[in-house]
Protein backbone atom coordinates (compact mmCIF):
# COMPACT_ATOMS: atom_id res chain seq x y z
CA UNK A 1 0.00 0.00 0.00
CA UNK A 2 1.05 3.63 0.12
CA UNK A 3 4.39 4.07 1.79
CA UNK A 4 5.89 7.52 1.32
CA UNK A 5 9.42 6.14 1.42
CA UNK A 6 9.00 2.93 -0.50
CA UNK A 7 6.33 4.14 -2.88
CA UNK A 8 8.41 3.37 -5.97
CA UNK A 9 8.89 -0.22 -4.93
CA UNK A 10 5.53 -1.26 -3.63
CA UNK A 11 4.38 -4.54 -5.10
CA UNK A 12 2.12 -4.42 -8.12
CA UNK A 13 -1.48 -5.46 -7.82
CA UNK A 14 -2.61 -8.78 -9.23
CA UNK A 15 -1.44 -8.81 -12.84
CA UNK A 16 -2.40 -11.35 -15.47
CA UNK A 17 0.05 -14.24 -15.59
CA UNK A 18 2.90 -13.99 -18.08
CA UNK A 19 1.36 -16.93 -19.95
CA UNK A 20 -1.72 -14.83 -20.68
CA UNK A 21 0.36 -12.16 -22.42
CA UNK A 22 -0.67 -12.66 -26.05
CA UNK A 23 1.69 -10.13 -27.60
CA UNK A 24 4.83 -12.18 -26.99
CA UNK A 25 6.00 -13.93 -30.19
CA UNK A 26 2.69 -13.18 -31.95
CA UNK A 27 3.27 -9.59 -33.09
CA UNK A 28 6.13 -8.12 -35.11
CA UNK A 29 7.47 -4.88 -36.52
CA UNK A 30 7.70 -5.36 -40.26
CA UNK A 31 8.20 -1.89 -41.69
CA UNK A 32 10.16 1.24 -40.77
CA UNK A 33 10.12 4.52 -42.65
CA UNK A 34 11.40 8.02 -42.16
CA UNK A 35 11.89 11.36 -43.83
CA UNK A 36 15.22 13.13 -43.85
CA UNK A 37 16.15 14.74 -40.52
CA UNK A 38 16.79 18.48 -40.79
CA UNK A 39 16.66 21.90 -39.19
CA UNK A 40 13.98 23.06 -41.57
CA UNK A 41 11.85 20.55 -43.45
CA UNK A 42 10.12 23.23 -45.54
CA UNK A 43 6.81 21.34 -45.43
CA UNK A 44 3.96 20.60 -43.09
CA UNK A 45 4.00 18.03 -40.32
CA UNK A 46 1.13 16.14 -41.92
CA UNK A 47 3.18 15.84 -45.11
CA UNK A 48 6.17 14.58 -43.13
CA UNK A 49 3.99 12.01 -41.37
CA UNK A 50 2.44 10.76 -44.62
CA UNK A 51 5.83 10.50 -46.33
CA UNK A 52 7.19 8.44 -43.44
CA UNK A 53 4.12 6.20 -43.46
CA UNK A 54 4.47 5.60 -47.20
CA UNK A 55 8.13 4.76 -46.72
CA UNK A 56 7.33 2.32 -43.90
CA UNK A 57 4.61 0.61 -45.90
CA UNK A 58 6.94 0.28 -48.89
CA UNK A 59 9.69 -1.05 -46.62
CA UNK A 60 7.31 -3.73 -45.35
CA UNK A 61 6.25 -4.74 -48.86
CA UNK A 62 2.66 -3.69 -48.29
CA UNK A 63 0.27 -1.43 -50.17
CA UNK A 64 -0.89 1.77 -48.50
CA UNK A 65 -4.54 0.71 -48.68
CA UNK A 66 -3.79 -2.32 -46.52
CA UNK A 67 -3.31 -0.13 -43.46
CA UNK A 68 -6.27 -0.65 -41.16
CA UNK A 69 -4.96 0.83 -37.94
CA UNK A 70 -3.25 4.05 -36.86
CA UNK A 71 -1.68 4.96 -33.53
CA UNK A 72 -0.46 8.49 -32.96
CA UNK A 73 1.13 10.56 -30.21
CA UNK A 74 -1.43 12.64 -28.30
CA UNK A 75 1.03 15.52 -28.64
CA UNK A 76 1.27 15.12 -32.44
CA UNK A 77 -0.56 17.85 -34.37
CA UNK A 78 -1.18 15.49 -37.29
CA UNK A 79 -4.41 13.76 -36.42
CA UNK A 80 -5.58 10.53 -37.96
CA UNK A 81 -8.27 12.32 -40.00
CA UNK A 82 -5.57 14.16 -41.91
CA UNK A 83 -3.57 11.00 -42.45
CA UNK A 84 -6.62 9.09 -43.66
CA UNK A 85 -7.54 11.95 -46.01
CA UNK A 86 -4.07 12.33 -47.46
CA UNK A 87 -3.29 8.66 -47.92
CA UNK A 88 -6.80 7.88 -49.16
CA UNK A 89 -7.30 5.15 -46.56
CA UNK A 90 -10.74 3.59 -46.41
CA UNK A 91 -10.55 0.69 -43.99
CA UNK A 92 -9.06 2.14 -40.84
CA UNK A 93 -10.92 0.25 -38.13
CA UNK A 94 -8.61 0.99 -35.21
CA UNK A 95 -7.09 4.28 -34.15
CA UNK A 96 -5.91 5.74 -30.91
CA UNK A 97 -3.33 7.95 -29.30
CA UNK A 98 -0.77 7.69 -26.54
CA UNK A 99 -0.01 10.44 -24.07
CA UNK A 100 2.94 12.01 -22.33
CA UNK A 101 5.16 13.34 -25.09
CA UNK A 102 8.03 11.01 -25.86
CA UNK A 103 6.73 8.60 -23.25
CA UNK A 104 4.32 7.54 -25.99
CA UNK A 105 6.97 6.15 -28.33
CA UNK A 106 7.06 2.47 -27.40
CA UNK A 107 3.50 2.76 -26.07
CA UNK A 108 2.30 3.24 -29.66
CA UNK A 109 3.80 -0.18 -30.42
CA UNK A 110 2.02 -1.69 -27.41
CA UNK A 111 -1.31 -0.25 -28.48
CA UNK A 112 -0.81 -1.42 -32.06
CA UNK A 113 0.20 -4.85 -30.78
CA UNK A 114 -2.93 -5.13 -28.65
CA UNK A 115 -5.04 -4.45 -31.74
CA UNK A 116 -3.11 -7.00 -33.79
CA UNK A 117 -3.07 -9.70 -31.10
CA UNK A 118 -6.82 -9.40 -30.53
CA UNK A 119 -7.78 -9.40 -34.20
CA UNK A 120 -9.00 -5.82 -34.30
CA UNK A 121 -6.60 -4.80 -37.07
CA UNK A 122 -4.07 -6.43 -39.39
CA UNK A 123 -1.57 -3.71 -40.27
CA UNK A 124 -1.25 -0.90 -37.76
CA UNK A 125 0.96 2.11 -38.43
CA UNK A 126 2.49 4.12 -35.57
CA UNK A 127 3.84 7.52 -36.52
CA UNK A 128 5.29 10.79 -35.31
CA UNK A 129 5.88 13.86 -37.47
CA UNK A 130 7.31 17.05 -36.08
CA UNK A 131 8.76 20.37 -37.15
CA UNK A 132 10.32 20.62 -33.74
CA UNK A 133 13.29 22.67 -34.94
CA UNK A 134 11.75 25.11 -37.43
CA UNK A 135 8.42 25.29 -35.57
CA UNK A 136 7.71 25.11 -31.88
CA UNK A 137 10.90 24.15 -30.01
CA UNK A 138 10.25 22.29 -26.77
CA UNK A 139 13.31 23.80 -25.15
CA UNK A 140 11.87 27.29 -25.29
CA UNK A 141 8.93 29.04 -23.73
CA UNK A 142 6.43 30.18 -26.36
CA UNK A 143 4.38 33.32 -26.32
CA UNK A 144 4.87 34.00 -22.64
CA UNK A 145 3.85 37.61 -23.09
CA UNK A 146 0.44 36.49 -24.28
CA UNK A 147 -0.42 34.18 -21.41
CA UNK A 148 -1.10 35.41 -17.91
CA UNK A 149 -2.34 32.32 -16.12
CA UNK A 150 -0.73 28.91 -16.14
CA UNK A 151 -2.94 26.33 -17.87
CA UNK A 152 -3.11 24.04 -14.84
CA UNK A 153 -1.92 23.53 -11.28
CA UNK A 154 1.20 21.71 -12.48
CA UNK A 155 2.50 24.59 -14.58
CA UNK A 156 1.21 27.03 -11.97
CA UNK A 157 3.64 25.48 -9.49
CA UNK A 158 6.63 25.84 -11.87
CA UNK A 159 6.30 28.79 -14.18
CA UNK A 160 6.09 31.64 -11.65
CA UNK A 161 9.53 30.53 -10.46
CA UNK A 162 10.93 30.40 -13.98
CA UNK A 163 11.26 26.59 -13.77
CA UNK A 164 10.30 26.60 -17.38
CA UNK A 165 12.08 24.20 -19.74
CA UNK A 166 12.80 20.47 -20.17
CA UNK A 167 16.58 20.83 -19.73
CA UNK A 168 15.97 22.53 -16.38
CA UNK A 169 13.59 19.79 -15.27
CA UNK A 170 16.08 17.05 -16.05
CA UNK A 171 18.85 19.21 -14.57
CA UNK A 172 17.00 19.15 -11.23
CA UNK A 173 17.15 15.34 -11.13
CA UNK A 174 20.75 15.47 -12.32
CA UNK A 175 21.92 17.71 -9.47
CA UNK A 176 20.47 15.25 -7.03
CA UNK A 177 21.86 12.23 -8.93
CA UNK A 178 25.36 13.74 -8.88
CA UNK A 179 24.98 14.62 -5.21
CA UNK A 180 23.88 11.14 -4.16
CA UNK A 181 26.17 9.04 -6.32
CA UNK A 182 29.12 11.27 -7.12
CA UNK A 183 28.43 11.19 -10.85
CA UNK A 184 30.74 13.53 -12.76
CA UNK A 185 30.39 15.71 -15.86
CA UNK A 186 33.11 13.59 -17.49
CA UNK A 187 30.95 10.49 -17.08
CA UNK A 188 27.98 12.22 -18.71
CA UNK A 189 30.32 13.57 -21.36
CA UNK A 190 31.36 10.03 -22.29
CA UNK A 191 27.72 9.32 -23.22
CA UNK A 192 27.66 12.38 -25.45
CA UNK A 193 30.97 11.52 -27.14
CA UNK A 194 30.06 7.87 -27.81
CA UNK A 195 26.67 8.74 -29.29
CA UNK A 196 28.36 11.29 -31.55
CA UNK A 197 30.74 8.55 -32.71
CA UNK A 198 27.73 6.44 -33.69
CA UNK A 199 26.16 9.43 -35.50
CA UNK A 200 29.36 9.91 -37.48
CA UNK A 201 28.84 6.43 -38.96
CA UNK A 202 25.19 7.19 -39.81
CA UNK A 203 24.76 9.37 -42.93
CA UNK A 204 21.14 10.13 -41.93
CA UNK A 205 22.19 11.64 -38.61
CA UNK A 206 21.97 15.38 -37.98
CA UNK A 207 25.55 15.32 -36.68
CA UNK A 208 27.02 13.04 -39.34
CA UNK A 209 30.58 14.15 -39.99
CA UNK A 210 30.82 16.25 -36.85
CA UNK A 211 32.67 14.28 -34.15
CA UNK A 212 33.28 15.72 -30.68
CA UNK A 213 35.83 15.03 -27.98
CA UNK A 214 35.41 15.05 -24.23
CA UNK A 215 37.20 18.42 -24.26
CA UNK A 216 34.58 19.77 -26.68
CA UNK A 217 31.89 18.48 -24.38
CA UNK A 218 33.41 20.11 -21.29
CA UNK A 219 33.80 23.38 -23.19
CA UNK A 220 30.26 23.41 -24.54
CA UNK A 221 27.96 26.13 -23.28
CA UNK A 222 26.19 25.60 -19.97
CA UNK A 223 22.44 25.54 -20.74
CA UNK A 224 20.92 24.99 -17.32
CA UNK A 225 23.57 24.03 -14.79
CA UNK A 226 24.56 21.20 -14.40
CA UNK A 227 23.58 20.42 -18.02
CA UNK A 228 25.67 21.61 -20.98
CA UNK A 229 24.69 22.01 -24.62
CA UNK A 230 26.12 18.57 -25.46
CA UNK A 231 24.00 16.99 -22.73
CA UNK A 232 20.90 17.97 -24.73
CA UNK A 233 19.28 16.30 -27.73
CA UNK A 234 19.15 17.87 -31.17
CA UNK A 235 15.90 19.64 -32.09
CA UNK A 236 14.80 18.11 -35.37
CA UNK A 237 12.28 18.38 -38.19
CA UNK A 238 11.27 14.96 -39.48
CA UNK A 239 8.97 11.98 -39.19
CA UNK A 240 9.21 8.26 -38.50
CA UNK A 241 6.60 5.56 -39.02
CA UNK A 242 6.51 1.91 -37.96
CA UNK A 243 4.31 -0.91 -39.28
CA UNK A 244 3.10 -3.57 -36.86
CA UNK A 245 1.39 -6.83 -37.82
CA UNK A 246 1.14 -10.45 -36.69
CA UNK A 247 4.22 -12.66 -36.81
CA UNK A 248 2.24 -15.02 -39.02
CA UNK A 249 1.49 -12.35 -41.64
CA UNK A 250 5.08 -11.12 -41.32
CA UNK A 251 6.29 -14.36 -42.96
CA UNK A 252 4.83 -13.25 -46.29
CA UNK A 253 6.38 -9.77 -46.17
CA UNK A 254 9.63 -8.33 -47.40
CA UNK A 255 11.74 -7.88 -44.27
CA UNK A 256 13.09 -10.06 -41.55
CA UNK A 257 10.50 -9.40 -38.80
CA UNK A 258 11.46 -7.90 -35.46
CA UNK A 259 9.25 -10.02 -33.23
CA UNK A 260 7.90 -8.51 -30.01
CA UNK A 261 8.81 -10.31 -26.82
CA UNK A 262 7.21 -7.53 -24.86
CA UNK A 263 5.82 -4.03 -25.04
CA UNK A 264 5.01 -2.32 -21.77
CA UNK A 265 4.07 0.97 -20.13
CA UNK A 266 4.96 2.31 -16.70
CA UNK A 267 3.55 5.11 -14.58
CA UNK A 268 5.05 6.12 -11.25
CA UNK A 269 3.26 7.18 -8.11
CA UNK A 270 3.55 10.84 -7.06
CA UNK A 271 4.67 11.67 -10.58
CA UNK A 272 4.35 14.79 -12.67
CA UNK A 273 5.20 15.74 -16.21
CA UNK A 274 9.02 15.84 -15.92
CA UNK A 275 8.99 17.58 -12.54
CA UNK A 276 8.33 14.72 -10.12
CA UNK A 277 10.34 16.39 -7.38
CA UNK A 278 7.86 15.57 -4.64
CA UNK A 279 8.38 11.85 -4.42
CA UNK A 280 10.78 10.06 -2.11
CA UNK A 281 13.52 9.42 -4.66
CA UNK A 282 14.26 11.79 -7.55
CA UNK A 283 17.68 10.43 -8.50
CA UNK A 284 16.06 7.65 -10.51
CA UNK A 285 13.18 6.99 -12.88
CA UNK A 286 10.44 4.98 -11.15
CA UNK A 287 8.31 4.86 -14.31
CA UNK A 288 11.15 3.16 -16.13
CA UNK A 289 11.54 0.68 -13.30
CA UNK A 290 7.86 -0.24 -13.60
CA UNK A 291 8.04 -0.54 -17.39
CA UNK A 292 11.23 -2.61 -17.06
CA UNK A 293 9.93 -4.97 -14.40
CA UNK A 294 6.84 -5.64 -16.51
CA UNK A 295 8.98 -6.12 -19.62
CA UNK A 296 11.23 -8.70 -17.98
CA UNK A 297 8.18 -10.40 -16.46
CA UNK A 298 6.14 -10.81 -19.65
CA UNK A 299 9.12 -11.62 -21.87
CA UNK A 300 10.89 -13.98 -19.48
CA UNK A 301 14.16 -12.33 -20.51
CA UNK A 302 16.86 -11.01 -18.17
CA UNK A 303 18.76 -7.77 -18.74
CA UNK A 304 22.02 -9.64 -19.29
CA UNK A 305 20.47 -11.43 -22.29
CA UNK A 306 19.98 -8.14 -24.19
CA UNK A 307 22.46 -7.53 -27.02
CA UNK A 308 21.84 -3.88 -27.84
CA UNK A 309 19.75 -1.04 -26.40
CA UNK A 310 18.30 2.24 -27.59
CA UNK A 311 17.60 4.24 -24.45
CA UNK A 312 15.49 7.38 -24.70
CA UNK A 313 18.16 10.05 -24.47
CA UNK A 314 16.67 13.54 -24.52
CA UNK A 315 19.51 14.34 -22.08
CA UNK A 316 22.69 12.43 -21.22
CA UNK A 317 21.90 11.60 -17.56
CA UNK A 318 18.88 9.59 -18.68
CA UNK A 319 21.11 6.82 -20.07
CA UNK A 320 22.93 6.03 -16.80
CA UNK A 321 19.66 6.31 -14.91
CA UNK A 322 17.98 3.83 -17.27
CA UNK A 323 20.92 1.44 -17.12
CA UNK A 324 20.07 1.26 -13.42
CA UNK A 325 16.28 1.07 -13.71
CA UNK A 326 16.40 -1.60 -16.43
CA UNK A 327 18.76 -3.66 -14.31
CA UNK A 328 21.99 -3.47 -16.33
CA UNK A 329 23.82 -2.24 -13.24
CA UNK A 330 23.10 -1.43 -9.62
CA UNK A 331 21.53 1.73 -8.30
CA UNK A 332 23.93 4.65 -8.54
CA UNK A 333 26.31 2.71 -10.80
CA UNK A 334 25.03 3.97 -14.15
CA UNK A 335 27.38 6.92 -14.49
CA UNK A 336 30.40 4.76 -13.71
CA UNK A 337 29.11 2.26 -16.30
CA UNK A 338 29.35 5.02 -18.90
CA UNK A 339 32.75 6.33 -17.82
CA UNK A 340 35.19 6.32 -20.72
CA UNK A 341 32.38 5.03 -22.94
CA UNK A 342 33.79 1.59 -23.78
CA UNK A 343 30.98 -0.39 -22.19
CA UNK A 344 28.38 1.36 -24.38
CA UNK A 345 30.49 1.32 -27.57
CA UNK A 346 30.41 -1.42 -30.21
CA UNK A 347 32.10 -4.44 -28.69
CA UNK A 348 31.20 -3.27 -25.19
CA UNK A 349 28.93 -4.89 -22.66
CA UNK A 350 25.84 -3.09 -23.96
CA UNK A 351 26.16 -0.95 -27.09
CA UNK A 352 23.68 1.91 -26.64
CA UNK A 353 21.93 4.24 -29.09
CA UNK A 354 23.81 2.99 -32.08
CA UNK A 355 22.30 5.42 -34.59
CA UNK A 356 23.51 8.36 -32.51
CA UNK A 357 20.26 8.56 -30.56
CA UNK A 358 18.40 11.74 -29.79
CA UNK A 359 21.62 13.42 -28.80
CA UNK A 360 23.21 13.07 -32.23
CA UNK A 361 21.01 11.36 -34.84
CA UNK A 362 17.68 13.14 -34.50
CA UNK A 363 14.99 13.84 -31.95
CA UNK A 364 11.79 12.30 -33.26
CA UNK A 365 10.37 11.66 -29.82
CA UNK A 366 11.64 8.12 -29.48
CA UNK A 367 10.41 6.81 -32.82
CA UNK A 368 13.82 6.93 -34.52
CA UNK A 369 15.11 4.83 -31.63
CA UNK A 370 12.54 2.13 -32.45
CA UNK A 371 13.66 2.16 -36.10
CA UNK A 372 17.24 1.64 -34.98
CA UNK A 373 16.19 -1.17 -32.64
CA UNK A 374 14.58 -2.84 -35.67
CA UNK A 375 17.65 -2.25 -37.88
CA UNK A 376 19.79 -4.01 -35.27
CA UNK A 377 17.50 -7.05 -35.58
CA UNK A 378 17.68 -6.92 -39.38
CA UNK A 379 21.45 -6.45 -39.41
CA UNK A 380 21.26 -3.14 -41.26
CA UNK A 381 22.48 -0.61 -38.69
CA UNK A 382 25.41 1.61 -39.63
CA UNK A 383 26.87 0.49 -36.30
CA UNK A 384 25.76 -3.11 -36.39
CA UNK A 385 26.22 -5.28 -33.32
CA UNK A 386 27.14 -8.84 -34.26
CA UNK A 387 24.54 -11.61 -34.06
CA UNK A 388 21.79 -9.60 -32.42
CA UNK A 389 19.12 -11.78 -30.89
CA UNK A 390 17.53 -9.29 -28.48
CA UNK A 391 17.13 -5.55 -28.99
CA UNK A 392 15.72 -3.20 -26.33
CA UNK A 393 14.12 0.21 -26.97
CA UNK A 394 12.76 2.57 -24.33
CA UNK A 395 10.36 5.52 -24.33
CA UNK A 396 10.42 9.08 -22.98
CA UNK A 397 11.57 9.80 -19.45
CA UNK A 398 10.41 11.73 -16.45
CA UNK A 399 6.91 11.05 -17.72
CA UNK A 400 4.80 7.91 -17.89
CA UNK A 401 6.97 5.78 -20.12
CA UNK A 402 7.11 2.64 -22.26
CA UNK A 403 9.49 0.02 -23.62
CA UNK A 404 9.72 -2.71 -26.24
CA UNK A 405 11.89 -5.79 -26.44
CA UNK A 406 12.45 -7.25 -29.91
CA UNK A 407 13.88 -10.58 -30.97
CA UNK A 408 15.13 -11.75 -34.32
CA UNK A 409 12.28 -13.43 -36.23
Amino acid sequence: MFDPYLARRYPTAARPSADAYRIKDNVAIVGIGQTEFSKNSGRSEVQLACEAIEAAVEDAGLKTEQIDGLVKFAIDYTDEMHVVSNLGLTDVAYFGECGWGGGASCATILHAAVAVATGVANYVVCYRGMNERSGRRYGRVPGAAMVMTAPNDHFGSLMPYGFATPPSWVAMFTTRYMHEFGATPEQLGAVSVVLREYACRNPNAMFYGRPITLEDYMASRMVVWPLRLYDCCVDTDGAVAIVVTSTERARDLKQRPAVLLGATQGIGTQGEMMTSVYRPIISGLPESWYAAEELWRVSGVKPEDVDVAQFYDAFTPLIPMQLEEYGFCGRGEGAAFCEGGDRIRLGGELPCNTSGGHLSEAYIHGMNLISEGVRQIRGTSTSQVENVELSLVTGGLGVPTSAVLLRAG
Binding site: A144, A145, V147, M148, D153, G156
Partner: protein, 142 residues
Protein backbone atom coordinates in the same frame (compact mmCIF):
# COMPACT_ATOMS: atom_id res chain seq x y z
CA UNK B 1 20.72 40.91 -5.08
CA UNK B 2 17.35 39.39 -5.88
CA UNK B 3 15.93 38.03 -9.08
CA UNK B 4 15.55 40.48 -11.90
CA UNK B 5 12.28 40.43 -13.80
CA UNK B 6 12.07 41.72 -17.34
CA UNK B 7 9.40 44.33 -17.82
CA UNK B 8 6.71 43.59 -20.37
CA UNK B 9 7.00 39.80 -20.10
CA UNK B 10 4.76 38.82 -17.21
CA UNK B 11 5.29 35.74 -15.09
CA UNK B 12 2.58 33.18 -15.50
CA UNK B 13 0.17 33.48 -12.61
CA UNK B 14 -0.50 30.36 -10.57
CA UNK B 15 -3.59 28.51 -11.68
CA UNK B 16 -6.02 28.21 -8.80
CA UNK B 17 -8.61 25.50 -8.55
CA UNK B 18 -10.76 23.86 -5.87
CA UNK B 19 -7.80 21.92 -4.57
CA UNK B 20 -5.05 24.52 -4.36
CA UNK B 21 -6.94 27.76 -3.69
CA UNK B 22 -6.30 27.61 0.07
CA UNK B 23 -2.54 27.36 -0.54
CA UNK B 24 -2.37 30.44 -2.77
CA UNK B 25 -4.84 32.42 -0.62
CA UNK B 26 -2.55 31.84 2.38
CA UNK B 27 0.53 32.83 0.38
CA UNK B 28 -1.09 36.13 -0.44
CA UNK B 29 -1.39 36.69 3.33
CA UNK B 30 2.26 35.70 3.78
CA UNK B 31 1.44 32.38 5.36
CA UNK B 32 2.75 29.02 4.18
CA UNK B 33 0.33 26.11 4.60
CA UNK B 34 0.27 22.53 3.43
CA UNK B 35 -2.64 20.19 2.89
CA UNK B 36 -3.13 17.77 5.78
CA UNK B 37 -5.49 14.79 5.80
CA UNK B 38 -8.07 15.09 8.55
CA UNK B 39 -8.37 11.33 8.80
CA UNK B 40 -4.78 10.10 8.94
CA UNK B 41 -2.76 13.31 9.25
CA UNK B 42 -0.60 12.80 6.13
CA UNK B 43 0.77 16.10 4.81
CA UNK B 44 1.08 16.33 1.03
CA UNK B 45 2.16 18.91 -1.50
CA UNK B 46 0.95 19.80 -4.13
CA UNK B 47 -2.66 19.96 -2.95
CA UNK B 48 -5.01 17.31 -4.30
CA UNK B 49 -8.54 16.03 -3.75
CA UNK B 50 -7.69 12.72 -2.11
CA UNK B 51 -5.23 11.48 0.50
CA UNK B 52 -2.97 8.94 -1.25
CA UNK B 53 -2.55 6.99 2.00
CA UNK B 54 -6.11 6.58 3.32
CA UNK B 55 -8.14 7.88 0.35
CA UNK B 56 -10.02 10.37 2.50
CA UNK B 57 -11.26 13.57 0.87
CA UNK B 58 -11.48 15.35 4.24
CA UNK B 59 -8.59 17.79 4.35
CA UNK B 60 -7.40 20.95 6.07
CA UNK B 61 -4.64 23.56 5.80
CA UNK B 62 -1.83 23.02 8.29
CA UNK B 63 0.53 25.93 8.97
CA UNK B 64 4.14 25.19 8.04
CA UNK B 65 7.13 26.05 10.20
CA UNK B 66 8.51 27.56 7.01
CA UNK B 67 11.88 25.85 7.40
CA UNK B 68 13.64 23.22 5.35
CA UNK B 69 16.78 22.30 3.45
CA UNK B 70 17.83 22.56 -0.17
CA UNK B 71 17.14 19.15 -1.73
CA UNK B 72 18.24 19.97 -5.27
CA UNK B 73 18.74 23.03 -7.44
CA UNK B 74 19.52 24.25 -10.94
CA UNK B 75 21.07 27.43 -12.26
CA UNK B 76 19.50 29.06 -15.31
CA UNK B 77 22.44 30.62 -17.12
CA UNK B 78 21.29 30.68 -20.77
CA UNK B 79 18.40 32.98 -21.59
CA UNK B 80 17.03 30.84 -24.45
CA UNK B 81 16.55 27.90 -22.09
CA UNK B 82 14.97 30.06 -19.39
CA UNK B 83 11.72 31.81 -18.67
CA UNK B 84 11.84 34.88 -20.92
CA UNK B 85 10.51 37.19 -18.19
CA UNK B 86 13.38 36.51 -15.78
CA UNK B 87 16.92 37.68 -16.37
CA UNK B 88 19.60 34.97 -16.12
CA UNK B 89 21.29 33.86 -14.02
CA UNK B 90 18.61 32.74 -11.61
CA UNK B 91 18.29 29.70 -9.40
CA UNK B 92 15.35 27.31 -9.00
CA UNK B 93 15.46 25.14 -5.90
CA UNK B 94 13.61 22.15 -4.52
CA UNK B 95 13.30 22.57 -0.76
CA UNK B 96 12.53 19.67 1.56
CA UNK B 97 10.48 21.16 4.38
CA UNK B 98 10.63 19.97 7.97
CA UNK B 99 7.06 18.73 7.46
CA UNK B 100 8.52 16.22 4.99
CA UNK B 101 7.05 17.64 1.78
CA UNK B 102 8.99 19.35 -0.99
CA UNK B 103 8.39 22.62 -2.81
CA UNK B 104 9.70 24.17 -5.99
CA UNK B 105 10.81 27.74 -5.42
CA UNK B 106 13.50 30.39 -5.86
CA UNK B 107 16.13 31.80 -3.54
CA UNK B 108 15.35 35.35 -2.53
CA UNK B 109 18.94 36.60 -2.74
CA UNK B 110 21.51 33.81 -2.92
CA UNK B 111 23.19 32.89 -6.19
CA UNK B 112 24.05 29.32 -7.28
CA UNK B 113 27.60 29.70 -5.96
CA UNK B 114 26.27 30.40 -2.49
CA UNK B 115 23.97 27.40 -2.12
CA UNK B 116 24.43 23.66 -1.75
CA UNK B 117 22.37 20.51 -1.28
CA UNK B 118 21.47 20.30 2.40
CA UNK B 119 21.66 24.05 3.08
CA UNK B 120 19.13 25.18 5.72
CA UNK B 121 16.61 27.75 4.50
CA UNK B 122 13.44 29.49 5.58
CA UNK B 123 10.51 30.86 3.66
CA UNK B 124 10.14 34.55 2.76
CA UNK B 125 7.35 36.08 0.74
CA UNK B 126 8.12 38.08 -2.37
CA UNK B 127 5.35 40.51 -3.39
CA UNK B 128 6.24 40.64 -7.05
CA UNK B 129 3.10 42.37 -8.31
CA UNK B 130 -0.22 43.50 -6.98
CA UNK B 131 -1.74 40.15 -7.91
CA UNK B 132 1.31 37.93 -7.38
CA UNK B 133 3.06 36.87 -4.20
CA UNK B 134 5.44 33.92 -4.22
CA UNK B 135 6.90 31.99 -1.31
CA UNK B 136 10.69 31.99 -1.76
CA UNK B 137 13.60 31.03 0.48
CA UNK B 138 16.68 32.46 2.15
CA UNK B 139 19.65 30.93 3.87
CA UNK B 140 19.57 30.56 7.66
CA UNK B 141 22.17 29.42 10.19
CA UNK B 142 22.41 25.67 10.66
Amino acid sequence: MGMEYIEGIPLLRPYTDYDNKGFWDAVREHRLVFQRCRECGLIVHRPRPMCPRCLSTEREWAPSEGKGRIYSYVDFVYQNASYPGIKVPYVVVVVEMVEGVRMISNMMDETAEEIYVGMPVEVVFDDIAEDLTLPKFRKIQD
